[in-house]
Symmetry: C2
């Protein structure tokens, strides 16, 4: 096919925020500063997680799925209880060919939010830490940025300025952190940062702060022939820097916010280069929009943790067939964090109310997770 394009643009400037809204993250003045507590000891003896591949040598190659014959007992890090039982019952129901709710494997689409659902998101979304550290490094080479109102704060406080920046500044910093390099190069930069950076509270790589029970859940669904997608507000290229290695989720099953990019040929090689502008925000109603566009099937399993996942949960659980919506409730300040209705990060308010009405499963980190993170030795 060959369609001619004119460099002519129209925009929907109507009332709807649409897919091109500016991302504005509400981080109030009280955003939590990074604490430097030592590593929290695990409350419960660590068990190795045989379901997921280890995070050994970095590889962008998809791990082979485990053959069903050697599948280990699933959901080891979930405490026995209603939550675990309901997940198991749902999966049994839709995979049993004799069940009225049986779903063909092709229909077994599962979507997971990332920040706050598959890994932690406190004291601030991890990608923001990456972004501010990267922009600080870039300052010297970008004299025109000197006029931006947040530059003085960065020069004065370095990465600690993150707790004093307003939403507009953070938004701009996120965009600038990704712009000007090819998407391939950006993923490499993100990957390098993830291997080097340490979370201030736990002193561990950020990818260690993925929830072991949720990783087991991803593995359990995969073993039951679900196709797993991440559908999250993070940058799609940032998430691809670790999703395959950590979750076993390949790049083409990662959906996120994305930058405007343009096509370039550099030394004979084609590249996509990011512009300093978010083109799509994969959050709120943007999530079902993206799912419909990219996956093209209504998911039957949806996991989230915040109001940003509300529409995705509605979408997945309002189809004609069986479905399960799941919300991770962060209520464990000892092992992780406790926050919900008034949090500046991962606010869970409307979606929590709706959970009761729509029978979404609310999972308690405190009560339902026997382990929160995998022990360092197993990673």
């Amino acid at each position: 096919m060959m369609l001619e394009l004119l460099p002519m643009m129209t925009m929907n400037n109507g009332k709807r925020a649409g897919v091109l809204s500016l991302l504005v993250v509400l981080l109030g003045a009280g955003a939590v500063a990074c604490a430097s507590s030592p590593v929290e000891p695990s409350a419960i003896a660590a068990e190795p997680c045989p379901i997921l591949p280890s995070t050994g040598p970095t590889s962008l190659v998809a791990p082979s799925p485990l053959p069903a014959a050697v599948a280990p007992p699933a959901l080891l890090s979930w405490r026995e209880g209603d939550a675990k039982q309901r997940i198991q019952a749902f999966v049994r129901d839709v995979t049993d060919p004799s069940s009225a709710n049986y779903l063909e494997p092709a229909s077994r689409i599962a979507v997971f939010d990332n920040d706050g659902t598959l890994w932690s998101e406190q004291p601030i979304y991890f990608q923001f830490v990456f972004a501010i550290e990267r922009v600080i490094k870039l300052l010297a080479d970008h004299p025109p940025w000197a006029n931006k109102p947040w530059v003085q704060k960065l020069k004065k406080d370095g990465a600690k300025a993150i707790s004093h920046l307003d939403e507009k500044a953070l938004l701009e910093i996120v965009a600038l952190s990704e712009a000007g390099v090819s998407t391939e190069e950006f993923r490499q930069l993100a990957h390098t940062w993830l291997t080097e950076a340490r979370h201030p509270r736990f002193g561990r790589p950020y990818t260690d702060l993925t929830f072991l029970p949720m990783r087991e859940l991803v593995g359990f669904l995969r073993q039951n022939q679900f196709k797993i997608f991440i559908v999250s507000g993070g940058s799609v290229q940032f998430m691809r820097a670790f999703a395959e290695r950590v979750y076993g989720i390949p790049p083409e099953q990662v959906i996120g916010s994305y930058m405007a990019t343009h096509y370039e040929i550099v030394n004979g090689r084609s590249l996509l280069v990011s512009e300093p502008q978010l083109a799509f925000v994969d959050d709120g109603s943007g999530k079902p929009v993206a799912i419909d566009r990219i996956i093209g099937r209504r998911p039957v399993f949806v996991a989230g943790n915040s109001d940003g996942d509300r529409e995705m949960l509605e979408y997945g659980t309002s189809g004609p067939g069986p479905s399960l919506g799941l919300i991770v409730h962060h209520d464990d300040e000892e092992r992780e964090w406790a926050y919900d209705r008034t949090s500046h990060v991962g606010k869970l308010d409307k979606a929590w109310d709706e959970a009761a009405l729509r029978n979404w499963l609310v999972v308690s980190v405190k009560d339902d997770f026997a382990e929160v993170y995998a022990p360092p030795s197993a990673l």
Copy 2:
């Protein structure tokens, strides 16, 4: 994750067409009118194609991939010759673990244009026929459309007006054909049309005018653990109405142009409803942009037929590893159509020149396809 959105919009109004350009299809005044010739007899005795599922009862469920053990000889409808040999040699090379060019299955990404590559596109892109027929049906219920300059032509000539409409009108008609209904409903409308409509020259359903050798090629690659994506200028929802049934390509592996959509809850059920506006045109440099965003890996096998596939071909064949770019050259006016450098539909000019420079394989419909379409009896 929960990000707050403001209903504020920015646009890149720079020189680049970007992802939000209006689609403008250049159909000159001389666009070919639909002829009503009888069905062309096949020049060569039909052979059944055992590789692909039959297009029997309509189903939106993915056919199970054939186990490798019972895989039939591939590429039956390709004549022996350089083209077939080169395809086979490439696949052998990248799937042989002892080869220096061996690729892990996860890296075996293949992308196919649809119009002119997997099915015919003459005398006009098939989706345009659907669009104009649908808009004619909708006219009575949309009095405000009466002011549009193309309405009188539609009222006078019906679907035959397609040959007298300029690009702006056709663009608007394509957008209006999809707008105002949910994406699920639109796919059903497209599906119904595809089962009922007949191509004017061949008197067969449009999905019969898929190229048997190319469908075999899709099956051959799939058997060799390639993951196949359609990356085409057609509407993603239109293509999903038949891609799984006809090509065995599931919705999440279909990438196309798409409408702006918004999220709605109707009677408790979430839907995505299209607006009368194309949000992304998956053509030209938009193809690598979409591949990078949605697939997130550089494809190693790229098939196209026109200048609209040029950047996608460059992208796939300029990576560091092995790759194969393929162009279908329409040079068989007896069995299909013959057109290239000056065609209003599927123009092949710059990409043809570049094929020689970049060693893309140019496949001749006349010489390399033993069969063009599957015989009606086998469909």
